[in-house]
């Protein structure tokens, strides 16, 4: 299971990495914004992406919209401080499969990752 973490905060990537390692996922690549993610995603070919919304250079929503033009199936989870209902709907319309609002507990993130992978496995 290969996972791409897209967040401009190294702190947040480290926290997410720690949760993923506890879940047994160790093949992890990191990107610091949407553009960086697009440049790495072809070679890394992830099975799941966790993507922040507010980032410099290219934000998460632009990344999701761009990525979904060529890839409809790889599960994407938005992990963001953007908590308004309208933003959640906007992200889902753009193509994310699940949504986690910061701050989150490790348990919540684990639950959403497991849930998303299960749903996407059933749907594929």
């Amino acid at each position: 299971m290969k996972i791409l973490l897209i967040d401009d905060s190294k702190t947040m990537r480290n926290i997410q990495k720690s949760v993923l390692k506890q879940l047994g996922y160790t093949e992890i690549e990191e990107a610091c914004d949407g553009q960086d993610a697009l440049s790495k995603i072809g070679a890394f070919n992830p099975d799941l992406c966790l993507v922040d919304w507010n980032m410099p250079v290219m934000d998460g929503l632009t990344f999701v919209t761009t990525f979904r033009q060529t890839n409809k199936t790889t599960p994407l989870i938005m992990v963001t401080t953007e908590a308004e209902k309208s933003r959640v709907i906007e992200a889902i319309k753009a193509g994310v499969n699940n949504y986690v609002v910061k701050p989150f507990t490790p348990d919540l993130l684990s639950e959403r990752i497991t849930e998303t992978l299960a749903k996407c496995a059933v749907g594929s």
């Binding site: 401009d8 190294k10 702190t11 963001t80």
Partner: protein
């Protein structure tokens, strides 16, 4: 400034600190800030734009900031390191984003965070925007959340706020 603008920040700092590293926050009496001098040596700063404009600052003494960053990250970083600034920035980012979700008015955007570290720095806020200082007491020390916000004079399209 309307109390409705302050309550979301009180809730947000308590939520972020308790959820991310189980640190209870006791809130003191909010008061107006009357000078531009940073309250403490470490400032995490977020700009606000859209239907509301202004600045949010998480101001912490160096020692308290060090303890909080260690709780948050599980690592001990030097105050002049990129990792320390990144953690402080992420804290103010989460507090601001969490508070924004509680605003009655939608169409507010927040910037990526900036962090300033150093004794006696000043933060030039937008003129004409009152700044409310919210004292917060924690087991790591006293920190302050500074909220300088007002409604924008010109209505902007909410779709441009992402």
């Amino acid at each position: 400034m309307d109390a409705n603008m302050i309550t979301p920040f009180v809730n947000a700092i308590q939520n972020v600190f308790s959820t991310m590293f189980q640190l209870p926050v006791e809130i003191g009496e909010p008061r107006l800030k009357t000078n531009r001098k940073a309250t403490h040596d470490v400032s995490g700063i977020i700009g606000v734009s859209g239907v509301m404009v202004g600045t949010i600052v998480l101001s912490m003494p160096l020692e308290a900031a060090g303890s909080i960053v260690t709780l948050f990250t599980g690592e001990e970083y030097e105050a002049d390191s990129d990792d320390f600034a990144d953690a402080v920035g992420e804290l103010v980012n989460m507090i601001s984003g969490n508070a924004k979700a509680e605003f009655q008015r939608k169409g507010v955007s927040i910037s990526c965070p900036s962090v300033v570290i150093g004794a006696d720095h000043t933060i030039a806020l937008q003129s004409g925007v009152p700044c409310v200082l919210i004292p917060c007491s924690t087991d790591c020390g006293e920190v302050v959340l500074e909220v300088a916000l007002r409604e924008a004079e010109v209505e902007v399209s909410t779709s441009a706020a992402a």
